[in-house]
Symmetry: C4
């Protein structure tokens, strides 16, 4: 990691240097926000593997097939985190600055992301067993909250171009709007489906990660 | 992560390069200190999720509500780490250099941060059960030590502007003084409250993270 | 971590800066891809240590010798991840850009890497015990999938120089071809050997990590 | 994390840029080596906290005092990793390049660092109990191997200035020599002491981390 992001980051040089990468009052805060965010995303995704466990006293080969909900939950959460990271990076790159409120909202978003390994493990442990409804409701509710927080994050930054860099055209903002808009309703549907069929709710969440999110990723816009 | 922070970081170039970002004798050491610090903060925050566990043999939905102390402890510790990271980054950006003592003090501060997942888990496991007093005392004591270490860290750097960059105005130092001053007494109060009401002590620690710390964050100063 | 990789990463500057490191339409996306990848590789390698466990109720000295499959599996997986990371870095440095498909394939490759601690633990727990065949098949199958994904990753980027930077000579591409070509067949052999001798399959996987991979590492080409 | 370390890292620019930070054939490889290393150090240090556990069915307050070997082992390992990281960074900054052998040796060094949480947990669990001798021998042996690997790492780079940058004066190399020389004998003494008194061996390892290593850290040389 490398950041010299504060107002005095190029401190010590007696004259402006072309290599001094901090522009006081402009990028103030986004570097720190990115730094905290990047670490959290990568670690949360990698900790997902700790959900895997096999029971003892059974045939291991059979057991490894039997835990298919673990694979499903792992893939769903991992791919989702990967794509949310990409989107987060893209939107941060549109910002000219961050402020205290932004920072706090970002912290709450990360808190949700870092929480994901727990409901993922619940789905892995309880799908097709007693408790699958509660497990799946917790899982899909986490995605709903994550989507809400991401939307709040974006709307706060975008409202009246509050934190947006001057050079960013309005079309770039509308592209983000379009990409983020379906998030909350889609995960809300997953949540509702979980009341009727936990398995269907998890497959739907997986399908969003595998098919919808990549197509909507804020990648080459 | 990429740092070329030593005195010879631009080694191999035959002449001074404008892109050579290390200024020997000036930023010496702060890059390394930041690098070690950033990793620790992000990982400690993300490991907090490993505290979550549900008992077996009960209704899962009921169990997920029953573990509310886990959510409270998780949110408290996560938000606190996030804000301490921001403050740490800000104060490091005020430094022109680090020395051996600074480095050792920083190491002790990080040791405290990285320890936090353990008392967080104690609160999650014991709040409202036998042992809640000991768990909460351990939790609040960790925050007291963390605040003391952060204060020692800052006072060492600030004393006679020992490590402060020349371009940093005194007003910036006083802003940090004001932000850091309430830390130790506030957490000491939490610690004392834990003797009387463990639950109140945890809520108070949460309130500091959610309400006080964001307002005092060394963010846009 | 620090990336300003989007099209607007140098936003806020009113004129082109020589220190502005993003070249819109050129490196678009590879920075983000590297960032996500680097974190995953390092964390997956370090989480491997969590596989180690000693049973209770026995002589500890004896037990520490008895768990030799844990050491073997740990070393094999750690060294392999280290070398794959180097190769991944090298090939990313050949790219001028990434696109949406590339990103998704990269995500799937990382999903496989981050999964490795689980089959590593299976080998550690089951080698020389009931279930060793299933454990070793899971382990070697993970390496086969990893090699396939890495090959798909590379072929997608390389086909008609789709994502390759103009300055990269064809000889550099052929060097990667030669280095990657043996991956899938070698691990397929390990997988087949696991049906006959799980122990031999693990030793073979270790030998590839210790002897073949370093010699083929895309290091000083 | 941010690295563009390959020979083509500034690919896509049509002319040499002053901001292009890679000097082909010079820093080739050290960036990748640092990146892998930094992640491993930070994560290994933070994973140490997972060793902490309290038994159930006892008074928690008493139990938290009873696990003092956990605190001792945690502090010892954490401080040691912090200082080794600083030294590693410093010596990497002296290199002009890395080669394949260097890379492999570095990988083995990291494998030892990432292994440390396991013997640390052994000491935490077994000190002052049956098995303390085996636990402490495993712990001190890990430090011996780590010191040997670090010495091999350095001697390989330093021999005939094989990988050293031209601008690095011989005095800087001799400073590293002096700092690294006592490592292996000191930890060998700890290992031998463990046969007679496991407790004394752990305290000695702690004393090295707290008193010797900071004074010898390759910090402001």
């Amino acid at each position: 990691m490398r950041y010299r992001v504060g107002p005095f980051s190029c401190a010590g040089t007696s004259e402006p240097s072309s290599a001094c990468e901090t522009i006081p009052g402009v990028t103030e805060g986004t570097g720190r926000m990115e730094a905290f965010s990047d670490g959290i995303f990568a670690i949360a995704a990698t900790l997902l593997v700790l959900e895997f466990a096999v029971g003892s006293g059974r045939d291991l080969g059979h057991e490894l097939l039997h835990i298919w909900p673990s694979y499903l939950a792992y893939a769903t959460s991992f791919i989702t985190i990967g794509i949310i990271w990409i989107n987060h990076h893209h939107t941060v790159s549109l910002l000219a600055r961050a402020d205290r409120t932004m920072l706090f909202v970002n912290n709450l978003l990360l808190l949700t992301i870092a929480f994901l390994p727990f409901p993922t493990k619940l789905v892995a442990d309880y799908l097709r067993k007693d408790g699958e409804e509660a497990a799946t409701l917790a899982y899909t509710a986490t995605f709903v909250i994550m989507a809400v927080m991401h939307q709040v994050w974006w709307q706060y930054a975008r409202h009246n171009r509050r934190l947006i860099a001057d050079v960013v055209p309005d079309s770039a903002l509308r592209a983000v709007d379009r990409a983020y808009a379906p998030g909350v309703p889609m995960y809300a549907v997953c949540f509702v489906v979980a009341f009727f069929s936990p398995l269907a709710a998890v497959f739907l969440t997986f399908a969003i990660a595998a098919f919808y999110l990549p197509s909507a990723a804020l990648f080459d816009r």
